[in-house]
Amino acid sequence: MPKVLMKGCEAIGEAAIRAGCRNFFGYPITPQTEVPEYLAKRFPEVGGEFVQAESEVAAINMLYGGAGVGKRVLTTSSSPGISLMAEGLSYIAACHLPVVVVNIVRAGPGLGGILPAQSDYLQATKGHGHGDYKLVVLAPSSVQEAVDLIYRAFDLADHYLTPVMVMGDGMIGQMMEPVEFPPMRDLADLPAKPWAATGAKGRKPNIVNSLYLKEEECHANNVKLKAKYDRIEKREKRSETYACRGDKLDVLVVAYGTMARICKTAVDEVKKRTKKKVGVFRPVTLWPYPYEALAKEARKAKRILVVEMSMGQMLEDVKLAVLGTRPIEFYGLTGGLVPSPDDVADRLRGILA
């Protein structure tokens, strides 16, 4: 299939269609509004149903209803809107429902700003809504990878019966890049969902519920969730290394998403002018976090530099991976400021000096 030049948000919408999603519920918020706009126009061509919800609170509950009747459903939003979805996602996780949620992260906290940021990392990976649940969190670093991860997200959600978040930043959403789309999924081949609430014809009623008034039953659901999360941790960690070949590194840069891409350019820049060995480790899954793969690279490095568009959020996971065995430095900008390759290269030179 030939490549097409497309804006990130629109490519995300098209990727969802390719993945077999025909139901979108969402609310406009910058910088992701091009996803609902694209789907509002495109869905009629493929028999999809677009609903502009009255709020993000309603949108996530529409997803709950749509997933509960067995359909592949999508919502996209940005940071403040994702905060409003926290309660709904907790219910969705507790009910073991598959949904895909995209967060095109903007600067926070509060109303913050509309420019790119990575300051929702802890919210996405550690504690979004209430209770013991997790989101699978995938972090693309290009528009092509956003397309591929959206496609994968629907399969992961259906396979594990769990909410999956694709977390990009405003850069991923707004940038235009050439992309190649995966083939259109045949809706007839999507996984069967015998648990869905589709009318109790010839069977006992199916109930989509997260209320367990008996403490043992509520605990049992948490044990069931934990067993699922253990399986996901075992099988689904993904990461990438760049310029990490060999058994020695002077500095290992750890970054994800757009920031990782910028760091790769910075590393190339530094390596042109010095003989120092500098590489990049990029987690693709933010949860489950690839601690072991990072620890392996970290063992080769004298020092570690974590770079984020936040005040230091993924930094906590890097510390957990490295467990105090290497010195860790941090560089971050927020508010929509994006560290340039030169900014990162300067930091690296400072550390290497």
């Binding site: 519920f25 149903e49 709950y64 209803g65 009318g199 014809k201």
Partner: protein, 261 residues
């Protein structure tokens, strides 16, 4: 011997957790009978709310969701838009629908979602132990308006049917009560009509059911029924306030309903 009375097929025989004298059981039965009579049970998906009827999924013999507080109309929207062939109904109380869920009910009605909403108004928060609801009557004592609801301080009770009837989108909007056998018969007609209109793909439908809460009102069931008749019915007029095919929503329809009552 001929069986003359039994459980509707759409109702499980599970004993309910409702307090003695509560009318939720009656309303459940009217919903179940309507589903049975219209042959909708096998296509029905109900949405239970947060509140006294949070466990409604144990009582209806059809597929069910349990929604978060106030969001049942959004859940029903998502389900119906994904599977238009299903029959979606929400069963919500006054705290759920008229307080925390006002945005969801207004917009579901305004989009004309083809779902059926059963709105049980007993003028109080039952499950949490008798707090003030948006529908609590002026002067009515609850644990959070211990000196009686003061409209100067807490505003006046919200009339949801009238509020929704001001929307231009076609809808079936009715208010009924279940405190006497005669009222139960009228309530059944409205609930059945609300499901029929959905089954025929006509419009959004909401039936508000005035209900008693003897436990939290601190009255016996007969006293509570009398209190409802004397205090709630004059403020919440019974009748069909809006029908599909009429563009006469709002004040005119409300006045007509009052005259009719």
């Amino acid at each position: 011997m001929k069986k003359v009375f039994g459980y509707p097929e759409s109702l499980t025989p599970n004993p309910t957790h409702y307090c003695p004298g509560c009318t939720h059981g009656t309303i459940h039965r009217l919903v179940a009978e309507s589903l049975d009579e219209l042959g909708l049970r096998e296509r029905a998906v109900g949405i239970a709310p947060v509140g006294c009827s949070v466990l409604a999924y144990n009582y209806f013999r059809c597929d069910m969701f349990e929604a978060s507080h106030g969001r049942a109309p959004a859940v029903a929207t998502g389900a119906k838009r994904c599977r238009p062939d299903l029959i979606l109904f929400t069963y919500q109380g006054d705290g759920d629908l008229a307080s925390i869920g006002t945005a969801e009910i207004i917009h579901a009605a305004n989009r004309g979602e083809k779902v059926t909403v059963i709105f049980v108004n007993n003028a109080i928060y039952g499950m949490t132990g008798g707090q003030m609801a948006p529908t609590t009557m002026p002067g009515q004592v609850t644990t959070t308006c211990p000196f009686g609801r003061n409209p100067e301080h807490e505003g006046h009770p919200i009339r949801m049917v009238e509020l929704l009837s001001s929307l231009a989108t076609p809808a079936y909007l009715a208010r009924v009560a279940v405190h006497t056998p005669l009222h139960v018969i009228e309530a059944k007609k409205a609930i059945r009509e609300a499901f029929r209109l959905q089954a025929e793909g006509v419009c959004f439908a909401m039936v508000e059911v005035l209900s008693i809460c003897p436990t939290n009102w601190g009255l016996t069931a007969p006293e509570a029924s009398k209190w409802l008749e004397e205090n709630m019915v004059p403020y919440y007029p019974l009748g069909v306030l809006k029908r599909p095919g009429t563009d006469r929503g709002g004040a005119a329809a409300a006045a007509e309903a009052r005259e009719g009552a």
